[in-house]
Amino acid sequence: MACKFCSEKPVIKLTNNEEKLCRSCFIKYFERKAIRTINKYKLIEENDRIVIGISGGKDSLSVLNLLNKYSKKRNNKISITALLIDEGIKNYRNYSIEDAKRFCRENKIKLHIASYKEETGKTLDNMKKHRKDTIACSMCGVLRRYLLNKSSRKLKATKLATGHNLDDEAQSIIMNQFRHNISLSARLGPITGVRKDPRFIPRIKPFYFLTEKEVATYAYLNNLISKFNECPYCEESNRFFVRDMLNDIESKYPGTKHSIVASFLEVLPLLKEKYKNQEINTCKLCKEPASSDICSACKVKSII
């Protein structure tokens, strides 16, 4: 029972090909795979100003760690700034914010914090108290995407990097299929966006081909977070159901999540072509980009 590449003790068995890797071979594998994704899909170009959207959880601190190394190797020609979104979730986000602050302080990375409280006057906990029947994730997802885009544009970012992994992408693909929301799938992929618009900062996903377990292993081996935590509201979401379903299938048929994403990438160019002329409006209330007269974030603000 040794590592595939050396005689060291393995720390992980990869699910898509059953290879066993030791600590140092896994870290090399992980970083090479992320950098191959960056290169293959041209996620980063010279002189890019990358803002990394972070929560302080395993995915975002791992992508921050990787891009910090990536930037240093290129003599800081690519600038990086961390942008933390504080939703205001007691006994959850406060822990990961401390991990994020510690990491940025130790690595001398600029950290900008934006919060739901500052944007809407309420924390997510308060919104949920007021709207008991509304699923927290439906308000949270809208506000997070809105704040990430608006704040990274203010920070003059050319790209917004997130810690989305293969599991997240496979879940989004399946959720859009279940709800017949194929136009939303056109916005997925390693680099998001159907058409260029200066109001939208392109989002890049260097961990597109890495599983959640691989990201957690990388975060653990690099001592990036103090405690693995699950959002207290996640059981309310449809994503939670799809995530468990996919994990059940994956344990019976290893490699399923990779296949879902690989199949999706084959049809993604056709989806982008089909939806390339979708109109982008301006929200009457906040002047941010919107799919109708009022953007989704302002609709959430009006009900909380």
């Binding site: 068995k13 994730c137 949270c140 599983t211 377990k213 653990y220 959002c231 979401s237 059940d248 344990s251």
Partner: protein, 64 residues
């Protein structure tokens, strides 16, 4: 018997099984959703434990 600390539930249980994958099965935990450590080192699901071993099961899903 090996002792298992479940980080998500913050509780410790004793189990009869000695192979990690069998422990996960008996606790109804999907192996793709966790990482497992012994003495702060990651171990594989096929690892065999001794009766005195203590392991920790850490969820990899953070949500949100």
């Amino acid at each position: 018997m090996p002792t298992v600390y479940l980080e998500k539930e913050d509780k410790t249980v004793e189990v009869n099984e000695l192979i990690v994958s069998e422990i996960l099965k008996s606790l109804k935990i999907n192996p793709t959703t966790v990482i497992i450590t012994k003495n702060d080192e990651l171990i594989l699901e096929e690892s065999k434990l001794s009766k005195e071993d203590k392991i920790t099961i850490i969820p990899v899903i953070s949500g949100g």
